[in-house]
Amino acid sequence: MALLLTVNAFAKEKQHGEEAGEKDLKTEIKEYIAHHLLDSYDFSLYSYTNDAGEHKYVGFPLPVILWDGGLKVFSSSKFHHGETVAEVGGNHYALYHNKIYKTDANGTINYDADHHPTNEKPLDFSFTKNVFFILLVSIIMFLIFSRMAKNYKNSAMPTGFGRLLEPIILYIRDDIARPNIGEKHYRRFMGYLLTVFFFVWIVNLFGLTPLGVNVTNNIAVTLALALITYFITTFSGNKNYWGHIFWMPGVPTPMKIILAPIELLGTIIKPFSLMIRLYANITAGHIVLMSIIGLMFIFKNWIGSPLSFALAFALSLLELLVAALQAYIFTMLSALYFGAAVEEGHH
C-alpha cells in the first residue's frame, strides 16, 4: 500500500514532466529524490498539475519563524512553494534551494563566483515539516507510553499495545543497558536509552511511509541525538574514565603522552560516527529505494516495471529491518559509551 502510494505520487510527477516536456526524465527523478530527502516549509503529500496547467499541492502550510532584527512569524503559504517572494513587515524573503534568503521585492538572488547565493540569511527557527513531524511522533510516543504506564497501576501485566512494547522495553533493559552499563548504574540511563530507541525506530518507520517525512536523514536531527549522547557520556564520566583518556594506565609514559590526544579525539569521533551512521544509513536507504522506483519510469516496458517493483518491495522489507537495526545500534552504542564512562576501575 505504501509503495503504491509512492508510485502514485511518481506517476503524477511523471505526467507533469511529460506535459512540460522540457526536463529530461532522469534529471527530474534525481531532483525529485533530492527534494524528497530535504526538509520543507510546508507539509505536502504530493503535487500535481491540473487541467488548467496549474501546479497544485496536496497538503498544508506550516509557520515560518525567522529572527531578523526581531521575531517574524508567517505562514509558509506566502512562499507558494518557492514560487513567490514573501513580504513580511517590510522585509522580503525568498526560498532558494529550500533555504530562506532575504531579498528585495523581486526576489533577486545574487551569486558569487562559485554560484553560492550572497544574500543575507536570516536566523531560521521555522516550524518545518520535520519539526512538525518530530513533535507529532513525540506526542504519539508520550500518549502511548503514559497510557501504558497508567495500565500498570491497575494490573501487574501490560494490556493491549503494552503487551507488544513491554518485551522491547525489557530487551533494552536486560540486553542493552544491563550488560553494557552495569548493574549498578544502568537505571540512570534507562530514560534516555528507551526514548532514543523508540524515537529513532518510530521515526525511521514513518520515513518508510509515503508521507514524505524523513526525520533521521537530516544531519541536524542526528547531530542533536549524538550531541545528547556525547554530553551524557561526558558529564557522567568518572575518575576512571578520564584517567583512561588523559593518563592511560599500564603503558609507558611516552605512550601516555601520545595516547592522550588520540583518546580525547576518540570521545568526539564516537558520537560523530553515531551521527553519520544513522544519517547515512537512512539517506542511502531512501536514495536506493527511490532510485529503484524511479527506474520504473525509465524502463517503461513490461519487464522493467515488475522487476523494479519486486526489487523495491524487497528493498522496502530490508529497510524495515534497517529502521529497527539503526535504532538498536544507536541505543546499543550509546549504552556502550555510557558504560565506559561509569565503569569502575578493576585494577
Binding site: K99, N130, F145, Y152, A156, L194, V221, L225
Partner: protein, 165 residues
Amino acid sequence: MEKLMNEFSFGLFFWMLTIFILLVVLLKKFAWKPILDAVNEREEGIRKAMDAAEEAKKEMQNISADSERLLKEAREERDAMLKEAREIKDKIVADAKEAAQLEGDKMIQQAQATIESEKKAAVADIKNQVASLSLDIAEKVLKEELKDGAKQEKLVADMLSDVTL
C-alpha cells in the same frame, strides 16, 4: 562534507534538541519510571513468590523429616518405657520376694524365740514343782523318822557330839 554542512539547518537542530530533551524528561517522569517500577515490582513479586514456594517446599521436607524423627523418637521412647516398666516390675517382684522372705524369717525367729521362752518357763515350772514335791517328801520322811522320843534323843546327841566346843 560540504554537502552535509550545506544541508545542516540550525532551526531543525534547535527544535529537535528542544523537543527531544523535553520528550526524554516527560517520558522519564510519566512513562519509563512507572513502567520500569511496575515491571521491577512484578519481577520482585515473582521472585519472592518463587522464594516462598521454595521455602515452603523446604519447610514441607523439614516437617516430614521432623515427623519422621518424632515418630522414631516416640518409638524409641516407648521401647525405653516398656523396658523400664519391665525392669520395675522385675524389681518389684524381687523386692516383694525379698520382703516376704525377710518377714517369714522374722516370724520363724519369733516363733523359735517364743518356743524357747515357753520351754524355759515350762522347765522352770517343773523345777519348782519338783522342789516342792521333794520338800513335801522330805518332810513326810522326817515326820515318820522322828515319831519316837528315843530316836529324837539320839539324833540330838549325835548332833551335839558333832559339835565340838
